[in-house]
């Protein structure tokens, strides 16, 4: 049966490529999806399945989460330095009766908007907009919610010229020092430094089929094995699923997804987390600032903690 699944997935991949080229094979696609779905009830998904889900074009994007989760959302633009990055949506709105600053990496829906949003890959302006709005949240003592969904940092000339390394580095220190609670939810792809720049948070949650990794499986395979086509293999050894990260203690909560996760099924997911977000933020907000910062420090301090060998001077 595992064999059959693999075959169906291969076929599906090819059909979807055709569909993307404008050839309508949607019926054939749906048929195989149904078959796959039936099979999967019995088999746990492997990492590559989750990679595919995490990247699915039908998967809800940050703007849809905001639409569904946040009331009276007011978007604010710009880094006050160079530009406004459409790959990052930032603003303020109500979750329940609490005003939050919300920052979302936005992949966009539809080809045109995906191009405009640079497929969720931030330029330095995007990190700096986020920093500005984070500092503002701190000034007004508002909790922050970050939605992470990015393939990773952007490999453009301008991004290097304008210091994306510096921009990410500054996001890390700013988040390290933020005196308000920060919750991050990885909703799709959590790729490399681009994801980390919004994830030095008091709690990091992941959607059930999201991934969080040091770089894309393709990039990993390319660097380590000189063969980017070995991405599937890479995804298995990289340990990038929500389940992996939860077992490492790097993720505080894995949010259950419906079988078919899309804009249609998003509201039920939102309802399952809304209260949790508000309550979690309130719990951290209740801490004295020193305790909040200490807790955040210790959370990350424990990651990759290595001890000295015994018996040494």
């Amino acid at each position: 049966m595992k064999e059959k699944m693999k075959r169906l997935e291969r076929e599906l991949k090819r059909l979807e490529a055709l569909q993307a080229d404008g050839i309508d094979v949607s019926e054939a696609i749906d048929k195989r999806k149904l078959e796959l779905k039936a099979l999967k009830v019995d088999f746990p998904m492997d990492a590559w399945d989750r990679v595919i889900k995490a990247r699915d074009a039908k998967r809800p994007v940050a703007s849809q989460y905001i639409e569904s989760l946040v009331e009276g959302f007011m978007e604010f633009h710009g880094d006050r330095r160079f530009g406004d990055d459409p790959a990052l949506i930032g603003g303020v709105g109500w979750i329940g009766d609490t005003a939050f600053t919300i920052l979302g990496q936005e992949k966009g829906v539809g080809t045109k908007e995906r191009v405009k949003r640079n497929f969720g890959m931030l330029n330095p302006e995007g990190y700096r907009k986020a920093q500005r709005l984070m500092k503002q949240a701190e000034k007004f003592q508002r909790p922050i919610l970050c939605l992470v969904d990015t393939p990773g940092a952007f490999c453009g000339l301008g991004a290097e010229e304008r210091g994306q390394g510096q921009a990410i580095a500054e996001s890390l220190t700013i988040m390290a020092g933020l005196e308000v609670p920060v919750i991050t939810i990885v909703i799709g792809e959590g790729g490399s430094g681009g994801a980390l720049a919004m994830s030095v948070s008091d709690e990091v949650w992941m959607m059930e089929n999201s991934i969080y990794s040091i770089l894309s499986p393709e990039g990993f395979a390319s660097i380590l094995w000189k063969d980017s086509s070995k991405a599937q293999e890479a995804s298995e050894v990289m340990k990038i699923t929500a389940q992996d990260l939860e077992s490492f203690g790097m993720v505080d909560r894995v949010v259950k997804e419906p079988e078919e996760f899309s804009i249609e099924t998003l509201p039920s997911v939102i309802e399952s987390i809304r209260e949790m977000i508000v309550e979690t933020a309130a719990a951290y907000q209740a801490l004295p600032v020193e305790a909040l910062l200490k807790k955040r420090y210790e959370k990350f301090r424990a990651m990759g903690k290595v001890s000295e060998k015994e018996g040494m001077e």
Partner: protein
């Protein structure tokens, strides 16, 4: 005498099998070959030197001025009057159970006689005490895994606890792939330590040496109160080849070099190797408040 006895246990330069200066690329991953024996070729102008002569020039090519890559121990010898290493032997880690990782690590350890890609300790530079961490681009491309992250974090915490300035010599190909997400989290771990140190008023000088790339650039390399770089140092986040593939054009010669970063506003000063010690001690004095 380079390594003088102070408060901590002192160390000797190990009998390393590595050449004095390092080649541009990691030989294992890029398929290049370290020149054998007593000669070394300048990767910039092609000039061939006796390795011994390079020692007298601090590893700077006397023909073209190229600053060849140095091992961490040699760097420490050039910069400090006293160096007391935090004499740690860290547990081996393989958090992802990555196939072959232990073996690869062991081979680097054997070859370099070093435990990992960074050396940390308390240093004295022209009578100014500081905490010093020096990365080694030769150890698995200077990649950052949990041990490197832990040692640097401990160094930053030590600087905070003892109220000493902090200097980190960066040299890194980026995150260590074999440790996956654990490598990524080292960026966060170190950044938290640096922010806490900074809030306490600590001075952190970041020194960028060839190459400073990837996750190191996107964290502590760029978090210095002051950032100095050796001439010609490669400094970037994304790799040159990846960018070229993405934008489908060849990048200009000086792209991602220290001089380019200076012009773009990301580096405070470019400091030739033979002025590095004086520059660092000058900065330390200015921040110590005593002329």
């Amino acid at each position: 005498m380079l390594f003088k006895k102070r408060t901590y246990a002192t160390i000797q330069l190990p009998k390393t099998k590595e050449p004095f200066v390092q080649t541009e690329a990691d030989p294992i991953s890029r398929g290049e070959v370290i020149p054998e024996g007593d000669f070394h070729k300048c990767p910039n102008c092609g000039e061939i030197f006796y390795a011994e002569i390079l020692k007298t020039t601090e590893g700077v090519c006397q023909k073209c001025g190229q600053h060849l890559r140095l091992g961490a121990r040699e760097r420490i010898a050039q910069i400090t009057d006293v160096f007391d290493e935090f004499h740690m032997r860290m547990e081996e880690t393989n958090p992802l159970d990555f196939p072959g990782y232990e073996k690869k690590l062991a081979s680097y350890r054997e070859r370099s006689q070093e435990e990992e890609g960074v050396i940390t300790g308390v240093a004295e530079i022209a009578e100014q005490r500081c905490i010093l961490a020096v990365m080694d681009a030769g150890f698995m491309m200077g990649s950052m895994g949990s041990v490197v992250g832990e040692k640097i974090t401990l160094a930053v915490e030590r600087a905070k606890a003892e109220d000493l300035p902090l200097i980190i010599f960066c040299a890194s190909g980026g995150a260590r792939m074999q440790e996956g997400i654990y490598s990524l989290m080292q960026m966060a771990k170190i950044s938290l330590a640096i922010e806490a140190f900074s809030k306490a008023g600590g001075l952190y000088i970041s020194v960028l040496t060839d190459p400073t790339t990837g996750g190191v650039t996107a964290s502590f390399a760029m978090q210095g109160d002051l950032i100095v770089a050796e001439p010609g140092t490669l400094i970037g986040f994304a790799g040159r080849r990846v960018i070229e593939q993405t934008i489908r054009q060849i990048l200009p010669e000086g792209f991602q070099r220290a001089e380019f970063l200076l012009e773009k506003g990301f580096v405070d000063r470019i400091v030739p190797r033979n002025e590095m010690k004086e520059t660092l001690s000058g900065i330390l004095r200015l921040h110590g408040g005593i002329r």
